[in-house]
Each structure stands twice: as C-alpha cells, then as structure tokens.
C-alpha cells in the first residue's frame, strides 16, 4: 500500500513464501525438465548435451503419431464435453426453478470430488464383458453375447469425458447465471428461432465460460493417465503413458523429460491459441 513505513515487514512476509513456492516448485523444476531433455549419460558417468531424445521423438513414427492422436482426442473430447454438458448447464440455470437447481448443481460436483480413480473404476465395472450393461442387456434378452466395450477407445473416451466434463459445466453455469433472461426474450421478440437465439445470443454470451471450461477440460484430458491406462485398449496409446513408461518402466528420464516438455508445449500452445481466438486472458480462466 502507499504507507511506506508499514510496507516493509508485511510485504516481505507475504512475498517470501510465495517466491519460495513459485521458484522452488514451479520455475526450477521446469528449467530442470528442459535441461534434462537435452542431456544424456556419457560413458564416463557424467552428463552430455544431446538432441537424441527429440530426435527419437521425431524419427519414430509411433511417438509423434501417439502425440497427434492424443492431442486430437483431447480436442475431440473437449468439444464433446461442451456438447454434452451445455444443455444441462442451461437447464439448471435457466429452465428449472432455483429450488431444484442448487440441489442438482451440487449433485454435479459429487463425482468431481469423489476423484478420478473411483469413477474410472466405476466405469470399468459398468463396461466390462460381465459388467452392468452387458449383464443387463443379456438379462432382458437383447443380446446373447457380451458386447466388447471395455478396453477399447470407446471406453477410454467415456472415461475421459466423464472425468473432465464437469469442469466444463461449472464455469459455463456461472456465466449463464449472469445472462439476463430478457436478452433471450428480446431475441425471441425480434423473431429469432431457438437455434438463432442459441447460436447468436447464448453461445456468444457464454463464450468466456466456455473458454475457461474448454481449457481446463483439454488440459485434464491431454494430461490424464488413469483413464487411458485403465479403460484404454490394446491400441489406445496415450502420450502420458509414454512419459509414464519412460520414467516408471524404462528408466530413460532424459527421453521422458523431452516427451514431457513436448506435452507442455502442445498443451500450452493450444491453450494460447484458444485464448487468442476468443480474445481472453489466462487470469480470467482462474476466476
């Protein structure tokens, strides 16, 4: 504040823990990540500069194919999350009465807090060959042999959608809450159809919420490991699995660091692009 005398001690008391946090746990580790990605063990036991980790990535088709595949899925699931949840967010904020909406909104948050591992496990139970859906369909006689759903790209996508979609609902609902009903009435009064109202009024209005939600969903999906690993099939290779493998089964940390850095690059550049396209700021995403 303006008062110079009282400025000192309080200011330092506040900034020192924050600086320690940001420098030790955010900045330095990421510098290390970058450096490690350019290092490999020399025969003498020291470290030498190398481009081999990046070369490995760009030369083996499987790595960048997985990379592209992961990014494409992440974008697809982000879009899907929007399509699936937007009508619900709208329903809860604009259609039903407040009495029910606060209860239902709370219900939305429960799977979020229960945690990914538990809900992914739930989907495993549901989609398995002897899972809830197959047993039910067999029971009612609709099928006589289980449909193979678990361990496929389908089950993986369901899991990813499920764990991430609620992060779309929350910010979208908060922007929709501030949307004045009379805007919709005015548009209807001026002869707009439901579709027009939706595309020209509601969507543009809730764009800030959609962007925040989209970024969080995208981030979660592209960086997720549990759902692809537990629900994914024999061909669903997720880029985080590569990183995980490099660190936790093949002990090639340098290559893992390079992959991690590439993942960081793609996720931040797609987020940057999304912010640019919608003309928003990162600060907004947080709030």
């Amino acid at each position: 504040m303006e008062n110079k005398k009282s400025f000192n001690i309080t200011f330092y008391l506040l900034i020192i823990p924050v600086l320690l946090w940001l420098i030790i746990l955010i900045v330095l580790p990421h510098i290390d990540l970058l450096i490690s990605s350019f290092q490999s063990d020399s025969d003498a036991g020291g470290k030498v500069f190398t481009l081999e980790h990046y070369a490995a990535f760009f030369q083996s088709k499987i790595y960048w194919l997985t990379f592209v595949n992961t990014a494409a899925y992440a974008i697809g699931i982000t879009i899907l999350a929007f399509i699936v949840t937007f009508p619900v967010a709208f329903y809860l904020t604009k259609v039903i009465s407040k009495k029910y909406s606060s209860f239902l909104a709370l219900l939305l948050l429960i799977p979020l807090w229960v945690g990914e591992l538990v809900t992914v496990y739930g989907w495993m139970i549901i989609l398995g060959d002897h899972g809830v859906i197959n047993e039910f369909l067999i029971y009612i006689g609709l099928i006589d042999k289980p449909i193979n759903m678990l361990y496929t790209n389908f089950s993986m996508s369901i899991g990813l959608l499920y764990i991430s979609m609620l992060f779309m609902v929350v910010p979208v609902m908060s922007t929709l809450e501030s949307l004045d009903d009379s805007l919709i009435e005015a548009a209807s009064d001026l002869g707009a159809t439901k579709w027009t109202i939706f595309t020209k009024i509601i969507i543009p209005y809730s764009m800030p919420g959609i962007t925040s939600g989209g970024i969080i969903v995208f981030m979660l999906v592209i960086g997720d490991y549990v759902a692809p690993d537990i629900l994914g099939g024999k061909s669903s290779l997720w880029f985080t699995e590569q990183i995980y493998n490099e660190f936790l089964s093949t002990f090639n940390w340098g290559e893992g660091a390079a992959f991690g850095f590439l993942l960081l690059m793609i996720s931040s550049s797609i987020i940057w692009l999304a912010l640019k396209l919608t003309g928003q700021k990162l600060e907004k995403v947080g709030s």
């Binding site: 504040m1 400025f7 001690i9 309080t10 506040l14 900034i15 823990p17 924050v18 946090w21 940001l22 746990l25 330095l28 580790p29 290390d32 990540l33 009508p87 619900v88 329903y91 604009k94 039903i96 009465s97 606060s102 709370l106 429960i110 807090w113 229960v114 945690g115 990914e116 591992l117 538990v118 496990y121 739930g122 495993m124 549901i126 002897h130 899972g131 047993e135 499920y162 009903d181 919709i184 439901k194 970024i215 981030m219 960086g223 490991y225 549990v226 537990i230 990183i243 995980y244 660190f247 936790l248 940390w253 991690g260 993942l263 931040s268 990162l282 600060e283 995403v285 947080g286 709030s287």
Partner: protein, 284 residues
C-alpha cells in the same frame, strides 16, 4: 426455452428427458460401485448373488474386508495425512499470495501472478516429473557433495506433500482472492487510522472477513490432494496414498473390497456436500 418463454410439449419433454439421461450417466458409476460393494461374490461383476457385508468386515482366508486389510487402511490414513499437510501449507501460502496480488504493488507483479496461475494449465504428470527430476538432481548433488541423504529430496511422503502443494496453493489463492475482491479496503484503512499496524489490521480485520473463503479453500485443497493421482504417482515412496493404492490394486487384481472403499468415499463426499448445502440454506 427459458422459464418465461412458452415451449412446445415435445421440446419440453425431450429436453427434460435429455437432462435425466445426463444425470443417469452421471451417477451410474457411483451406483454401480455402491451396489457391487454389497454383492456376495468374489468377482466385481453381476449377477447379483445376494447381500453381504463381507467386503467391509470379513477377515477369512477367502475374503478380506476393508477393515481387515491393513494395507488399505494404511493408505487411507496416509492419504488423510497427506491431504491435511497439503491443505494446511497450501492455505497459508495461498492466503499470502492472495493478499500479495490483491493488495500490494511491486515490480514484476504481473509475471509472478502469471506464474502462480500456471499450475492450472500444466498437466499434473508434468508437474510430477519435473519435481521428481529437480529433487533428484538436488538430492544427488547434496549426497555427493556433503554425504547427506535428505529424505524429502527423493520420492517420499514429504515430496508428495510438496508436489501437491505446488498446485494446491493456486486454488487457495484463487478462492481467497475472489473473496478479497469484495473486501471493502476502507475497513483496513480504518484499522490503520486507529493505530493498528499493517499486520494487525490484516490479522484482525482482513483475515476474519476472509474466514468463510479460507475454510472453503482448505476443504478444496484437502479434497484435491485426497484424490490426486497424476502428480503423486511420480513422487510416491514406500507409502502409497489411497488413489495410488487403488490404482495398483485395479491393475493387479480387483475385488469388491475396492468397491467397499470407493463406496465409503462416495458416501463421505455426498454427506459433506449435503451438509454444505444445508448449512448454506440456513445462512440464507
């Protein structure tokens, strides 16, 4: 379309049907978990073979219930412990960050604020591996140079706490900061004019005003820590947290005991959520 606009019945009921489907989709895994936690069968699958509480209480050679499974109890305990420390440290640093960015003016503030927000957009896996890399680097260096083996510089309980704190503080900062935006700054000025020091005015005026947000942020940080997997997996030592333990059990063998523990988590969260709804309603 909205409450005040007339709709055709077809539209109205189709819409309602969709929303109902969505909520079924939403609760389906939770229900499936809950139901199969009481199924009298050793495999986690239908058909229903009768009701049992074995997966909570049994302690025989064939069946081990949750209460008899030391490993699982241990990992629940470790998770609670981790979450408690993470929430505490995150809350303290998060409040400091919120006060710093809302009330102070200094050079490079924009850059620092941007850094504080980055954990929101850095995948958890990356946070995990980068902290693993840097702590190993620092640990090896110290070990070679001084011969000290510093526990929290290699995967261990405290490294997990540090790793989860690195993003927990961001959430606390945002939640507390949002409340701080509504704070009437003249209250602090009034305290200063009544000869309180800056620290006293924060402690007696600002912090009490922020209390609901601080409590909320503590709970959020606790829950985020309790359910974290992506970052934790890289930093874990010999003490697995509940999600890590669940993960390896799901990978190696799933028995209804996993349903039992998942069911308890769901119940716990639901009760907590209903309680918060009830308390908020009473306040109004």
């Amino acid at each position: 379309m909205i409450r005040s606009l007339p709709n055709s019945p077809v539209y109205k009921y189709t819409y309602r049907f969709y929303v109902i489907c969505f909520f079924i989709f939403l609760v389906m895994p939770l229900i499936a978990i809950a139901v199969l936690a009481f199924n009298d069968s050793s495999s986690v699958a239908l058909p229903w073979k009768g009701f049992t509480l074995d997966w909570f209480f049994a302690n025989t050679d064939q069946r081990t219930g949750l209460l008899a499974d030391d490993g699982l109890i241990q990992s629940i305990f470790i998770s609670v412990k981790t979450a408690f420390y993470v929430a505490t440290i995150s809350t303290i640093v998060g409040i400091a960050a919120a006060l710093l960015f809302e009330e102070e003016k200094f050079r490079l503030k924009g850059l620092l604020y941007f850094l504080a927000l980055t954990p929101l957009v850095i995948p958890g896996v990356i946070l995990g591996i980068s902290i693993l890399l840097s702590s190993t680097l620092a640990g090896s260096y110290i070990e070679q140079k001084f011969g000290w083996d510093i526990a929290f510089l290699s995967p261990s309980f405290w490294l997990v706490v540090l790793g989860q704190f690195s993003f927990g503080a961001t959430y606390v900062m945002l939640l507390v900061g949002a409340r701080l935006k509504k704070f009437d700054r003249t209250l602090e000025e009034a305290a200063l004019s009544l000869k309180a020091t800056r620290l006293q005015s924060i402690w007696y005026v600002t912090i009490p005003f922020l209390r609901p947000a601080i409590l909320g942020a503590f709970v959020v940080a606790f829950l985020i820590s309790f359910s974290n997997f992506n970052t934790t997996i890289f930093l874990i030592g010999s003490d697995p947290t509940l999600p890590v333990d669940l993960y390896s059990r799901i990978k190696f063998s799933s028995t209804p005991i996993l349903n039992a523990v998942s069911f308890l988590i769901v119940v716990f969260i639901t009760v907590a959520a209903l309680l918060s709804l009830f308390l908020n309603r009473n306040k109004k």
